[in-house]
C-alpha cells in the first residue's frame, strides 16, 4: 500500500538504483538527480522500508532490550533512559519481557528471527550465563546492572556490589551501630550475593559488632515488608542494610506499622536512590547507584560493538555513594 522505491523511480523517470542512492548517505548522486528524486518522493509520501534494506545491508538498527524486572519502579527510569538513548542514536528498542521465562533459548530464537543488531540485558537478577548465550549466538550483547567478573565473557556495566556492601557496613559502623543485619533480595540473585559478601567482609574487621542476614523472596515492597515483620517478631537488629530501595521502603512500612520509629528504634539504609527514596514521606538514606551513567555507558558500548563485534569484553563499574537522608541515626559525638 505505501509507495515503494519503484514507484518513486517511475515517477521521477530514473532508475531504482538512483532512488536508493539518494536515500543512502555517502552515495554518489548529482544535485540535479537528487532534486528530481526528492520531489517525486515527497509527492508520493515515500519513506524507505528499513526492513527491506536490512536484508542486504545486514543492519536492522533494532536492539533487543531484555529485562525480567517489571515491578521495581526503578526500572521505569531504566526503560526511559534506554529508550531515549537508543532513539537518539537512530536505534530502535525491541522490548522483551522475561518475567515468566526461565529458558534463554526462546528469547534468543525470537531476537534472532528479528535479526536484532545487538542486545542489552538489563537486570541484576539474571545469571551471567544468560547474557553469554546471546554472545554464543553471535549477537553483540551488553549486560547492564550485571555482575562483575575478573575475566568477563561479555560486556558488563554496573556497580561493584561487594563494594556497596562494604560501604553500607562502614556507614553503619560510623554511626555507632553495634548489632547490624543485611536484609537481602532473593538469595539466588548475584547482586544479593555480592552485596552480602561485601557487607560481611567489612564487618569481619570489626568482630565486636554482631551481624546477621536474611533474604526476602523478591526485590519488592511486599517481600521487604514481610521479611521485616518476621525479623520484628524476635529481637531485631539495630540497623538494616536492605538489598534495595523498594525492599527498604517495605521494611520501613513494617517498622513504623509496628509502632516503632525509624531511625529511633531501627535504622535503615537502602540501595539505588530511586526517585521515591527522596519523597518527603519516605526520606530514605540510601546508596546511590548512578543509573544514568550506567545506561549511557551501556549504550555507548553496544553502539561500538555494532562496528566491532569482537571487541574485547570489558567490565565497567561505576562508583556509588551514600545519600544521607533520614533513616539512620546521626554520627555520634
Amino acid at each position: 500500500m505505501p509507495p515503494t522505491l519503484k514507484d518513486v523511480a517511475e515517477r521521477a523517470g530514473v532508475s531504482r538504483a538512483a532512488v536508493s542512492r539518494t536515500f543512502t548517505d555517502g552515495a554518489s548522486v548529482s544535485p540535479k538527480m537528487r532534486r528530481k528524486v526528492e520531489k517525486a518522493a515527497t509527492e508520493l509520501g515515500y519513506s524507505p522500508n528499513a526492513l527491506a534494506s536490512s536484508l542486504t545491508t545486514g543492519r536492522t538498527k533494532l536492539i533487543g532490550l531484555v529485562s525480567n524486572n517489571f515491578h521495581n519502579p526503578i526500572f521505569l527510569e531504566v526503560f526511559d533512559l534506554f529508550t531515549r538513548g537508543l532513539q537518539d542514536r537512530g536505534l530502535r528498542p525491541l522490548l522483551v519481557n522475561l518475567s515468566n521465562e526461565t529458558d534463554p533459548a526462546n528469547s534468543i530464537r525470537m531476537l534472532r528471527q528479528y535479526s536484532v543488531d545487538g542486545v542489552v540485558v538489563a537486570s541484576s537478577t539474571l545469571p551471567p550465563g544468560f547474557a553469554k548465550s546471546f554472545r554464543d549466538a553471535g549477537v553483540p550483547v551488553v549486560h547492564s546492572f550485571g555482575r562483575y567478573s575478573s575475566s568477563p565473557e561479555v560486556h558488563v556495566v554496573g556497580i561493584d556490589n561487594a563494594e556497596c556492601g562494604r560501604m553500607a557496613a562502614r556507614e553503619l559502623i560510623r554511626r555507632g551501630y553495634r548489632d547490624v543485619a543485611f536484609l537481602g533480595g532473593p538469595e539466588g540473585a548475584t547482586s544479593t550475593q555480592d552485596r552480602l559478601r561485601g557487607f560481611l567482609e567489612e564487618l569481619a574487621r570489626h568482630p565486636e559488632i554482631a551481624v546477621r542476614h536474611s533474604f526476602a523472596e523478591a526485590y519488592s515492597f511486599n517481600a521487604g515488608r514481610r521479611e521485616m515483620l518476621k525479623r520484628l517478631e524476635d529481637r531485631p537488629a539495630e540497623a538494616y542494610f536492605c538489598g534495595d530501595d523498594v525492599l527498604s521502603i517495605g521494611a520501613l512500612s513494617a517498622v513504623t506499622g509496628s509502632g516503632l520509629t525509624v531511625p529511633g528504634d531501627i535504622g535503615l539504609i537502602g540501595l539505588n536512590d530511586m526517585e521515591m527514596a527522596g519523597w518527603e514521606n519516605i526520606n530514605l538514606t540510601t546508596i546511590r547507584q548512578p543509573i544514568s551513567e550506567i545506561i549511557g555507558s551501556s549504550i555507548e558500548l553496544i553502539v561500538s560493538m555494532l562496528e566491532n563485534p569482537d571487541r574485547y569484553p570489558e567490565t565497567r563499574l561505576f562508583p556509588c555513594r551514600v545519600i544521607e537522608r533520614g533513616t539512620l541515626r546521626p554520627v555520634p559525638g
Copy 2:
C-alpha cells in the same frame, strides 16, 4: 552468518520452497519431507528470518508501543502487561518514547519505516489527534487510556473520566465534606479536563458545597506536592480529589510534612489504585482503574484489526470503583 533457507535446502537436498513450506503452518508438506527438512534445520541451527518473510507476507508482527509517560510508576505495570500480552500472541513490541517529542510526524515515519502491523498509544495525556494521525497513515491503532468520544475516529479503550469525577464527588459528599477541591494533573490533558468536568457536574447538584480546583504541572509526585503546598498557604479545602495516585501521594506528603494529618485535617482521594497506593505507609483511598482489563481489551482490539483493518472504530470503557483505605474520614452517623 546464520544459516539461511538455501543452506537448509541444500543440506536436505530439496528445493527452497519445500523448506519454506515446512516452516509455514497450513502448507502442504509430506511427513517424509518434513522430517528431512527438520533434521537439516536443527543440524544447522536454522530459524527463519522474520523480517525477510515480512517482505512478501506484508506482516511483521511488530507492534509499536508508544507512550510519553515514563515517570508514573503505574506505567511500569502498563508496560509489563502490554509486553506480556503481546508476546503471548506472537507479537513484538517496538517501544517508542515520546517524552520530548511533540510532533507525531517523526514517530509515524519511524514506525512506518519498520512497517509495524499496528500501534498502541498508551497515554492519558496525548491529544486524540495523535492516534488519529497513525490511522491516517493507514496503520491500525488503538488509543489506550484515551479519551471517550461519542463519535470516535480511532479505537479508544479506557475509563469514563467524567464518571470518575462524579464518583469522587459522590464519595466526598457521602462522607460529609462541605468544602472540596479538585487537584488536577496538567490542565491541557484530556483526562484532567474530563475528571474535572464530572467532578463539577456532580457538585453542581449540591450548591451548598463549596468547590474549587487547581492544576499541577504534571502527573508526578513533586508536582502534586508543590501544588498542595501552595494550597496550604491559604485556607485549604476539607478534602481533595487528586488527578491521580502519584499526585495524591505528593499531596499527602505535603500535608503531613506541614504538620497536618490525613484524614484528620484534610481528606484525600486519588485515582488509579497503583500498587503503591496499597502500601502500608501510604494507604491511599482511591478510585481503581482496571488497567489489566483495559490492556487486555486493547490487545484484543489491535489483534482483531490485524485481520480486519477497517473495523469500525469503537470506544470501550471500563467501570471504576472506589477502594476505601485510610485517607478519607469515615461516613458520618
